[in-house]
């Protein structure tokens, strides 16, 4: 939406977000390495660093994956979503540190290229206890790299929103690979149960949050709407929607955000052009529907971004009768992909 790209569009919230993130990562690593040195006094610092970086990256990936469903379940989590891409980049950088130190410690001391050594030093893919789990970590790191490298809006614009979204959905594939990396790697040599318990809690948390959020959305989509004779759908009373806010409904397979602004109703696609953010969870600021994720704005009546921006989301015809809002589930000229 910006007319000229910048590396990062800094604002006070992003600074607080990133400072908190940096402090959290530093504190975690200090505690992990400090406690590790106390519990295992003979453990080399490189080993503690490899484990600290790896667990920090894995923990952050859990947080990244949980933010989406948490925001759908409770809007108070939305501030976490605001700068999630920096969480993702930090996850990659921690994983990269883990990978580089691991490669140096275990594969750089011979005369074979460390990357070739990673794939050829152990080829027991049929063994559970001896599985070459490092290759799983490598592919997960590769996915995280591509995601981090394409996190800027330049890539969203260059690759197109659907392709960009598909690339970033690969975070789930990276997560599965990393679960297997831990299960077949660190867990095979771990004698205490704490790692297995932490991993189990992590998996259950990620899966259950996604299922709960999905079920709630599915239930909301299935609310029976009353069809009027001319195709307009009664979506309820206007005064039931707080002024400046929206009610999101699913009509004819499309998610539509119906906004109440000063006694009027406007219906727009719920999908922000930027990163498919849920416009219906946003509010009207300065006369514009404002996406809760990154603040992209659209006029409620036309769906167009304010000048000089040229984005546009589809709008839907609405009418008011007896205090009720009726929406025609047929996008105005230009269609849903205008």
């Amino acid at each position: 939406m910006s007319v000229q790209y910048k590396a990062i569009l800094w604002n006070p919230q992003k600074r607080v977000y990133d400072l908190t993130l940096a402090a959290g990562v530093f504190l975690y690593l200090a505690l992990f390495i400090g406690a590790g040195a106390l519990i295992h006094p003979n453990a080399p610092v490189e080993t503690l660093l490899i484990r600290g970086l790896g667990t920090a990256a894995f923990l952050l990936l859990h947080i990244v994956l949980c933010i989406g469903p948490l925001c759908r379940l409770d809007s108070r989590f939305l501030p976490l979503l605001y700068n999630r891409r920096h969480l993702g980049v930090t996850t990659f950088l921690l994983g990269l540190g883990h990978g580089i130190f691991g490669l140096i410690q275990f594969h750089a001391l011979g005369d074979v290229n460390p990357l070739i050594s990673l794939f050829t030093s152990n080829t027991r893919y049929g063994s559970l206890s001896q599985f070459p789990f490092q290759s799983l970590g490598f592919f997960a790191l590769l996915i995280l790299y591509v995601m981090a490298a394409t996190s800027h809006d330049f890539w969203l614009h260059t690759l197109s929103a659907p392709v960009w979204k598909r690339i970033h959905m690969a975070a789930y594939l990276a997560y599965v690979l990393l679960v297997a990396h831990v299960l077949l790697g660190a867990l095979q040599s771990e004698t205490s149960p704490w790692l297995a318990v932490c991993l189990g809690v992590g998996i259950v948390t990620v899966v259950s949050l996604h299922i709960t959020a999905g079920l709630r959305e599915h239930a909301a989509d299935n609310v029976i709407a009353k069809l009027a004779n001319d195709g307009y759908v009664d979506i309820g009373r206007l005064d039931a929607i707080p002024d400046g806010r929206a009610k999101t409904v699913c009509l004819a397979g499309e998610r539509i955000a119906v906004f109440h602004h000063g006694g009027k109703a406007s219906a727009l696609s719920n999908v922000c052009r930027h990163q498919n953010g849920p416009l219906g969870e946003g509010r009207i600021i300065d006369g514009c529907v404002t996406c809760p994720w990154h603040g992209y704005q659209y006029f409620p009546d036309s769906g167009a971004s304010p000048p000089p921006f040229d984005d546009r989301v589809p709008t839907y015809p609405t009418r008011l009768a007896s205090g009720h809002v009726y929406v025609l589930p047929k996008a105005n000229a230009g269609g849903p992909h205008s």
Binding site: Q4, Y5, K6, I116, Y145, A149, H152, F154, T158, L159
Partner: protein, 66 residues
């Protein structure tokens, strides 16, 4: 076989790295008008992605898409 694949991967990356430097220096504006007159920090941040998607970007650069 694995060794060959790793070497091909490294070759792809090496070409991508060289392309990325040229792309962020001179090619971005041809692909996306919003990249005109952008700063060094932004261009540096685009290097890793350009090293991955260099075949696509090279095609668009040649076509002058944007």
């Amino acid at each position: 076989m694995v060794e060959l694949l790793v070497r091909l991967f490294l070759l792809y990356w090496a070409i991508g790295g060289m392309f990325a430097i040229a792309f962020v220096t001179a090619g971005m504006e041809r692909v996306d008008a919003q990249a005109r007159r952008t700063g060094v920090a932004f261009r540096m941040a685009m290097l890793p992605g350009a090293a991955v998607f260099w075949p696509l970007l090279l095609r668009r650069w040649i076509k002058g898409h944007g």
